[in-house]
C-alpha cells in the first residue's frame, strides 16, 4: 500500500517538475501575450484550455504557474525546515530552560492566526516571489520545530546516544551525526506535507491579490481572475483549481507513503 502511495505521489510530482522545467518548450504561447481578439474564448483547438480575460492562453499560464508553485513549495519549506529543525533540535537536546524558552516562543508564534500573521508580513514586505516564499517559510516552521523536538527528546535517551557519548563524541557531533539522521524520516514527511501546504498558502495569498503580482502567472492569481467571470468562463476557475488539487494530492500521497513505509520499517 505504501509503495503504491509513493509511486503515484512521485509520479504526479515528477510530471509537474518536468512540466515546470520545460514550460517554455511546452507552452504553445507566450504566457503574457495579450490577444484582445480572443478574450475569454472557451477551450478549443487553438487554445486547449481556453483564454483569460486578456486573451492570454490559459494552458501556457498554468504551465508557467507550475514553476512558481513548485519553487514556492521547495523554498518556503526549505526555510521552514531550516528554522524548525534548528530550534526543535536545540530545544529537544538541551531541554531544561532553553527548551522551555524556545517552546514558549513556538507557542506564541502558533497563537497568531497564521493568515493574520501572513497578511501583516505581506504589508511590510514587497510581494516579490522570493518575499512570498520567505514569509510562508517564516510562518510555518513551528509545527516542524515541535515534531523535531519530540523526536529528538525520545532519540537522545536511546542507548546508542549514551554509547557514542561514552566513546568521546561531543554534543555537536551527537546532534548532527547521530540524532538528526534518526529524525530524518519524520523531517522528510513533514517537509513534503508542508510543500502542499505552502503551495495552498501561496495560492490563497495570490487569490487575495497579496501574493505573486501580475503579470507573473500563478495558480492563485489565475483563480482570482477567474472568480469574477465564473458564470461565463468556467475554465478560468476549473483548470488552475485542478492543478492545485493535483499538486497537493501528489505531495500528500508521497508523504503518506513515506510515513507508512517508515513506520513499517521501524
Amino acid at each position: 500500500m505504501s509503495r503504491r502511495f509513493i509511486l503515484s505521489g512521485s509520479l504526479i510530482i515528477g510530471i509537474l517538475i518536468i512540466l515546470a522545467l520545460f514550460a517554455p518548450l511546452l507552452s504553445p504561447y507566450d504566457p503574457n501575450k495579450i490577444d484582445v481578439e480572443n478574450i475569454l474564448s472557451p477551450p478549443s483547438k487553438a487554445h486547449i484550455l481556453g483564454t483569460d480575460s486578456l486573451g492570454r492562453d490559459l494552458l501556457s499560464r498554468i504551465l508557467y504557474g507550475t514553476r512558481v508553485s513548485l519553487k514556492v513549495g521547495v523554498v518556503a519549506v526549505g526555510i521552514a525546515l531550516l528554522i524548525g529543525v534548528a530550534i526543535g533540535a536545540l530545544a529537544g537536546y538541551c531541554s531544561g530552560r532553553i527548551d522551555a524558552l524556545l517552546m514558549r516562543f513556538v507557542d506564541i508564534m502558533l497563537c497568531f492566526p497564521t493568515f493574520f500573521l501572513l497578511l501583516s508580513m505581506v504589508a511590510f514586505l514587497r510581494p516579490t516571489v522570493f518575499n512570498i516564499m520567505l514569509i510562508i517559510g517564516l510562518t510555518s516552521w513551528m509545527g516542524v520545530a515541535r515534531i523535531v523536538r519530540a523526536e529528538v527528546l525520545s532519540i537522545k535517551e536511546r542507548e546508542f546516544i549514551r554509547y557514542i557519548k561514552a566513546m568521546g563524541a561531543g554534543d555537536m557531533r551527537i546532534v548532527s551525526k547521530h540524532i538528526l539522521p534518526n529524525v530524518l524520516p519524520s523531517i522528510l514527511v513533514v517537509g513534503i506535507l508542508r510543500m502542499g501546504g505552502a503551495i495552498l498558502t501561496e495560492s490563497a495569498l495570490s487569490f487575495l491579490g497579496l501574493g505573486v503580482q501580475p503579470p507573473i502567472p500563478s495558480w492563485g492569481s489565475i483563480l482570482m481572475e477567474g472568480k469574477s467571470v465564473m458564470d461565463i468562463a468556467w475554465w478560468m476557475s476549473v483548470f488552475p483549481g485542478i492543478a492545485i488539487l493535483l499538486t497537493v494530492l501528489g505531495y500528500n500521497l508521497l508523504a503518506e507513503g513515506i510515513r507508512t513505509l517508515a513506520i513499517s520499517r521501524s
Partner: protein, 316 residues
Amino acid sequence: MYILEVKNLKVYFSQKGKVLKAVDGISFFIREGESLGLAGESGSGKTVTALSLTRLVSHPYLLSGEVLFRGKNIFRLKSADLRKIRGAEIAYIFQNPLSSLNPVFTVGNQMIEIIRLHHRKTKREAEVYALKMLEKVGIPDAYKNLRSYPHQLSGGMNQRVMIAMALSCHPSLLIADEPTTNLDATTQVQILQLIERIKKEERLSLLFITHDLEILRRFTNRVAIMYAGQIVEIGENLFEKPFHPYTYALLSARSGIIPEQGLKGEAPSPFAFPAGCRFHPRCPFKRSICEEKEPILQEKKKGHFVACHFPQTMVK
C-alpha cells in the same frame, strides 16, 4: 598503583520533588591491570556508578565525591578534556549491544567514526584498522560484516563489534556493564573468554558489572558487593569467606551451594532507605544497634572490607 580511585561518590536524582539516592557515598579503587567485579541486585546502583565514572549520568540532582583516573579528578575536568578520556582511556561495553549501536549506520561507519574521534587517520586508514579490530575479536568475514547494519548481526556478533569498538582506541580501563546478560549461554562463555583474552593482550584494567556471581568468581580478582547504593563488602576471597550477611544471602541464592539461607523481603526504595544499616529489615542477624547506627566499611582482613556491625564468617 591505582588506575582508578573513587572517593565518597554520591549520585542523587530528583524525581517528582523527591530525592533518589542511586549511589550514596561509595569508595573503591582499581589497581593497574586488575579486574574488579561489581555485583548487586537490580537497582543497587551498579550502572549509575559505572556511568558516573566518566560523568555520563544525565541530569543528576547531585554528583559529588572524587573520581581519580591516574590521579586526574574526572569531576573537575573541562568537558573537552573529559572527551579525550572517554573512549581513548576509559571505554565501555554496554549491556545491550543492539540498542547501543546506531541503527541507521553500518557497523564499519560507527567504528571508523570512533577511531577518527581519537586518532588522526584518513577514512581509508581507519577502515583498514577497523577490519583488523574485527578480526581480532573473532568476527568471521570481517570485510562483509563491516558493511552490515547492527540489526543484520546476531547478539553475540554485535557484542563482539562493541568490544572491537571499545578496544579501537587503546583504552587502559574497560568498563563492562553486564556484557553478557542478554546473550545465550554458549555465546556468554565465548564473550567472557574474549574479554579475558583481550584484557591480557591489551593489559587492560577492568571493571566488570554483573549480577552473575559465578562469572565474577571466575573472571575477576576482587569483588565489590553493592546494596542500596552502598558498597557493603569488598575484597579478594569474598566467595570463600563472606563476612556480610547480604553477600552470604546472595551466595546462597545460587542454587545448591548454600541452600539453607535465602533472602527475604525486597530491596528498599531508593527514595527512603531504612535508618541505621540499610540491610537490617532483611537481616537474620540484626540487633537493636543495626536499626540506629549506620555501619561503615572496616577492614576485617587484609584488603577485605565489610560494612556490618556484626561481621562474621558465614561459611565453615
